[in-house]
């Protein structure tokens, strides 16, 4: 009541930030449980030995590529339609060097080298162009790679592709064994996931978001955004290549269909459907898309139509994807929880009173004070972590 002169500030402070902070706390509690549960389910199917194992192996592989795509696309605003090209580079890198008689680890090394080399050579694109132009040019790069894989038959085997039989061994573990490979894929996925979560929370990750939000301002603050762009592009491309290497050992074959245009599209779908600008969203998106491809296609002949409709519905009604849905669900849960915890009458009155509630009603004012007190301890938590 004493601060009736400045009604705008306290009310704004009382509305969304406490909710956000509480969500951050809920996040902390829910995170390990949810991830453990998801991990348990995935591991179960992965090691079940049923046909679902191969599907979940595909999920993990595409998730690696999609998460990389999302780091630069979702955080940095540089959405690529050429990510499948890097899957192809990694896969063909292994396949072609195996055909030329290199040992399994040498094949992996060469594939990684080819991916990094090609990414470095094309990074100038990421540095120079933005927005829709970037989308189109990455599409062109992807299509050039696809064209090469299709037509340079002496090197790639053309339409038939290249079979790959021998995977490397890690100590006593032979990755040519599919079950062992699946465990290895899971481990690589977890490492990539962890690294990307870390990168997303790093100053570099923050600067990627800043670049997407307002690049001109970022430059005025001393950021030579060419560095951000180059590094982001290299990481995204590298992860595409890693996915490609795993892909070729999982499928024992690489052919032009690995990097055809529809694959680029699927990867972007995974990112958008899962939740752009989150690392775990694209992983969820990968589950949905791969299940569509492998499962729904068994029952529904026009599964692509169905997927297209799902996609349109998602973009129209829930543009922040599955991640957004989960966030909304958590928010709703949290609201229910706090509403009941707060011995409702005063709280509800404060909320229902709306714009004029603050200055007029004693209960409303008291609630605001409670809000402020309540938010303080939790406010320190995210910062301390």
């Amino acid at each position: 009541m004493s601060d009736g002169g400045t009604p705008a500030r306290p009310r704004a402070a009382a509305s969304s930030p406490p909710a956000r902070r509480a969500l951050a706390v809920t996040d902390l509690a829910a995170w390990p449980l949810l991830s453990l549960a998801a991990l348990g389910v995935v591991t179960y199917f992965l090691l079940s030995g049923s046909y679902l194992a191969t599907i979940f192996e595909d999920v993990l592989i595409y998730a690696i590529a999609a998460m990389g795509l999302d780091l630069f696309g979702g955080y940095g605003g540089m959405v690529s339609l050429g990510q499948a090209g890097f899957i192809g580079l990694g896969a063909y890198g292994v396949g072609i060097s195996a055909e030329h008689g290199f040992g399994p680890w040498a094949c992996v090394g060469i594939a990684v080298g080819v991916v990094i080399g090609f990414a470095a050579a094309t990074a100038v694109v990421a540095v120079r162009v933005s927005g829709i132009t970037y989308v189109i040019i990455t599409l062109a790069i992807g299509q050039i790679l696809w064209g090469l894989s299709y037509q340079w038959t002496s090197l790639t085997g053309g339409d038939n592709g290249i079979p790959v039989t021998t995977a490397p061994s890690v100590g006593p573990f032979d990755l040519s064994d599919q079950q062992t490979l699946r465990v290895a894929t899971l481990i690589v996925f977890l490492i990539v996931f962890g690294l990307l979560m870390l990168i997303a929370a790093s100053p570099f990750g923050l600067s990627l978001r800043g670049m997407k939000s307002n690049e001109r301002r970022l430059r005025a603050l001393g950021y030579q955004t060419a560095h951000q762009r180059c590094l982001g592009y290299m990481i995204a491309s590298f992860l595409g290549g890693i996915a490609g290497i795993l892909y070729v050992y999982a499928n024992l074959l690489v052919s032009p269909s690995t990097l055809e245009f529809s694959q680029d599209g699927y990867l972007v779908l995974m990112v958008v459907l899962g939740g752009i600008g989150t690392i775990w969203g694209p992983a969820l998106g990968a589950i949905v898309i791969v299940l569509f491809q492998q499962e729904v296609s068994i029952y529904v002949a026009r599964w692509q139509t169905l997927m297209g409709l799902t996609f349109i519905a998602a973009v129209a009604f829930k543009p922040d994807g599955i991640a957004g849905l989960l966030r909304a669900a958590r928010g709703a849960l949290h609201r229910v929880a706090t509403a009941s915890a707060r011995q409702t009458p005063a709280g509800l009155a404060g909320r229902a009173a709306g714009p004029e509630g603050g200055p007029d009603l004693p209960p409303g004012g008291a609630t605001e004070d409670q809000d402020q007190r309540a938010e303080r301890p939790s406010a320190h938590r995210p910062g301390a972590l």
């Binding site: 402070a13 956000r20 990168i199 100053p203 923050l206 603050l221």
Partner: protein, 266 residues
């Protein structure tokens, strides 16, 4: 005349050898139209320097030339005696040039804390650090908090710009520029769109800035400008028509005619 004004400025206010910011013969054209024409200014270190002129006089173009977002057709820009005419905005920022924008340019989908954190990391090597969360950079976080606290945004750290008042947005706009610890700060209409009460706030903020900071302020409103600067250059059709101490410029007949006359008086 402008040359005389410039040398006068550096003699009267600066004991140092080279001015903090020096512009000579600067021109920029949009097609056949000169947006900035043969502008020469000398801003001594620690000066409070105002640039005023009606809308379309070339003020913001001049700022974009100073900050490096535009390359001049001719002329040079010197920062502490160093020719920066061909340097990009981030390089000029690294040499101590900070700026704000007339149209608020914040990272709108990020919180105040994230906005300030980005700015604080702007000129450090840590900005390309990949594997350590930015929240764990104690020194940088404390600096972001101190900056927000020192200008009344301390309790707004976890809000996004969409939740701030217009006055707070303009403050944050200035804070972002201050976070990089510039030696020369360019403020592009810091009071644009503010209510009279909010204008007083932003004037307070500007007056409280470190006296050693060299300040160049663009305004089209003389009432705002005269409170915060001691020297004014008047820009008209891209040219400096009058330059001198604030009081003199206010009284100058040419200014009254061009400026107040053209805009239709009060």
């Amino acid at each position: 005349m402008t040359a005389a004004g410039a040398s006068q400025a550096s003699e009267s206010a600066s004991p140092q050898s080279s001015p903090a910011l020096e512009v000579s013969g600067l021109s920029y054209r949009f097609g056949a139209l000169f947006a900035v024409r043969d502008v020469s200014l000398s801003v001594p270190a620690g000066a409070r320097f105002g640039v005023i002129g009606p809308n379309g006089a070339g003020k913001t173009t001049l700022f974009n030339l100073l900050s490096g977002e535009l390359r001049p057709a001719s002329g040079t820009v010197r920062l502490d005696g160093r020719d920066v005419t061909r340097l990009s905005p981030p390089r000029r920022a690294a040499l101590g040039l900070g700026r704000t924008f007339q149209v608020t340019r914040l990272f709108t989908d990020m919180t105040v804390r994230e906005n300030l954190t980005l700015a604080v990391h702007g000129l450090t090597r840590t900005k390309l650090q990949l594997l350590r969360p930015w929240r764990t950079y104690r020194k940088e976080q404390r600096r972001a908090e101190d900056l927000a606290g020192s200008f009344g945004l301390g309790n707004r750290l976890d809000h996004t710009p969409g939740e701030l008042s217009h006055g707070e947005l303009r403050e944050l706009e200035v804070l972002l520029a201050l976070a990089t610890e510039p030696t020369v700060l360019l403020l592009d209409e810091p009071a644009a769109g503010l209510s009279p009460a909010e204008r007083v706030d932003i004037q307070h903020l500007i007056r409280r800035l470190d006296p050693s900071l060299t300040l160049v302020v663009i305004e089209h409103d003389m009432n705002v400008l005269r409170e915060v600067v001691s020297w004014i250059a008047v820009l008209h059709y891209g040219e400096v028509v009058v330059e001198g101490p604030t009081a003199d410029v206010q009284q100058h007949p040419a200014v009254r005619e061009i400026y107040l006359g053209k805009t239709g008086g009060q």
